[in-house]
């Protein structure tokens, strides 16, 4: 009974995003470890309060004087959800520069013959419904562009 009550309190605490008092640091740490393992520390505000624009990443590889364009989205839907989730995480963390490096390392590792890779990050900006009716259409707004050379 006590364990069930304890877990229930942690679920509510996690959902309300309350932080421990900090008075019992070691005890709080143990509780946090437990909550992390069991998923009792999650908050559940999916798709709220607003829908963030999707982040799109593109890589242009130079492989022995031939240019090839790669898009991270549309490999398969199962993969797309994950890449998009990762891209959004970096943008939320304001770490877009780090993201371009991560993606460049991924592509240079995947393509051993590539000598250069250009990474472009953009946001997919969708017009509102009234603006769509007035003729506006989605556009991609570039957030960051970076080039990387293999040494």
């Amino acid at each position: 009974m006590a364990f069930v009550v304890f877990h229930g309190i942690l679920v509510i605490r996690g959902a309300a995003q309350l932080t421990p008092s900090g008075r019992g640091a070691a005890r709080d740490h143990l509780v946090d470890v437990y909550a992390g393992w069991t998923g009792a520390n999650n908050s559940y505000g999916f798709f709220s309060p607003r829908i963030s624009p999707q982040v799109i990443a593109r890589a242009t590889l130079q492989v022995e004087h031939n240019e090839r364009r790669e898009q991270f989205v549309s490999v398969s839907q199962a993969f797309d959800f994950r890449t998009t989730s990762m891209l959004s995480w970096f943008i939320q963390m304001d770490a877009d520069r780090l993201l371009t490096r991560v993606l460049a390392a991924y592509w240079l590792g995947r393509e051993p013959n590539a000598t250069r890779v250009d990474i472009t990050l953009s946001q997919y900006v969708l017009p509102s419904m009234p603006n769509w009716r007035r003729g506006d259409r989605p556009r991609e707004v570039e957030v960051r562009r970076a080039s990387f050379l293999r040494k």
Binding site: M1, V4, H7, G8, V11, I12, A15, A16, H29, D32, V33, G36, W37, T38, G39, N42, S43, Y44, G45, F46, F47, S48, P49, R50, I51, P53, Q54, I56, V73, S74, V75, S76, Q77, A78, F79, D80, F81, R82, T83, T84, S85, M86, W89, F90, V102, L103, A105, Y106, G109, Y124, L126, S128, M129, W132, R133, P138
Partner: protein, 301 residues
């Protein structure tokens, strides 16, 4: 007339009321089916998603992890005692253990320990590939934890005949509380945004390239539809505790929630997420319904 002092024992009795064991069988088998299907769907991209040479190296993903959170580098460090290049084998090792544990769970073999192995390996995949995690991973973790700690019975026994003692019923109440918290928080967070009241949230969700299964651009010319769906979503989520706790309207509310997730799965392509949410809902509030259906099938056999 009973006063507040009379309500407390009634609430206590209600919490400890015996519950159908079908709930736990649904949770165990349903969770295993969904996570196995997800693993199969991701099979060709496992290295990209979870590998150290994938989209996000472990070192980067593991920075955000709390102390003692399970991670792939633990297995890699362990394997480095015997292997020269352990990273190549780490992912294989973890994924094989994960799949084997899920298969045992699916057939209700090995007691509750397969759920423990599946939970631990799921946490490792989630930890080291966590930058790309989304809803299904979070709820998969929650479902695996409950599958491990909840009472165990063989499949036929659990579904058809097993009733839960008052003590075991508490675990079901915990899962119910967890689901109520999930929906109330999700619903109130949505209600705070204007986009959910004017249909823009539904429009923007369906029109994003990642979720676009069909062409939904026609919705811009009938904004009443996305507006209605937005309102309906908020009402279903915020009304979840009332709908589920009131036994008379519970079947209706359960059908509405399952319908909501079928909609998310089919119209936005989030099939694994929709499926794990349906499993959790059926386990938490559909035990009686599952037992009745299974009982009818068993009698016919």
């Amino acid at each position: 007339m009973s006063g507040p002092s009379g309500q407390i024992p009634r609430l206590y009795r209600s919490l400890l009321r015996p519950a159908p064991g079908a709930a736990f069988a649904v949770l165990r088998v349903g969770t295993a089916s969904v996570l196995l299907a997800k693993l199969i769907a991701e099979f060709t991209h496992l290295d990209d998603i979870y590998g150290n040479n994938g989209l996000a190296p472990w070192m980067l993903s593991e920075i955000q992890l709390a102390d003692f959170a399970p991670r792939m580098s633990w297995v890699s460090d362990l394997l480095s005692r015997w292997l020269v290049n352990p990273e190549q084998h780490t992912l294989r090792c973890v994924v094989i253990s994960y799949a084997a544990a899920l298969i045992l769970m699916l057939f209700s073999l090995g007691g509750r320990w397969p759920a423990a192995v599946a939970w631990l390996t799921h946490l490792m995949l989630l930890g080291s590939g966590g930058l790309s995690a989304y809803g299904v991973d979070t709820f998969g973790n929650i479902a695996l934890f409950y599958s491990f700690v909840m009472p165990y019975g063989c499949l036929r026994e659990s579904v058809v005949t097993m009733g839960l003692s008052s003590r075991n019923a508490l675990w079901l109440r915990l899962l119910q509380l967890h689901m109520i918290v999930v929906y109330v928080v999700a619903g109130t967070a949505k209600a705070r945004g204007a986009e959910w009241w004017n249909g823009e949230a539904i429009w923007r969700s369906l029109m994003q390239p990642q979720f676009r299964v069909f062409d939904y651009s026609w919705l811009a010319y009938v904004p009443a539809i996305p507006t209605f769906v937005g309102w309906l979503t908020v009402v279903i989520e915020i009304g979840y505790p009332f709908g589920m706790m009131c036994r008379r309207i519970r079947p209706l509310w359960l059908a509405a929630v399952v319908g909501l997730h079928i909609g998310i799965g089919s119209l936005m392509g989030l099939r694994s997420f929709a499926a794990i949410m349906i499993v959790l809902n059926l386990a938490a509030f559909g035990g009686e319904f599952v037992r009745r259906v299974a009982g009818r099938i068993a009698r016919r056999d």
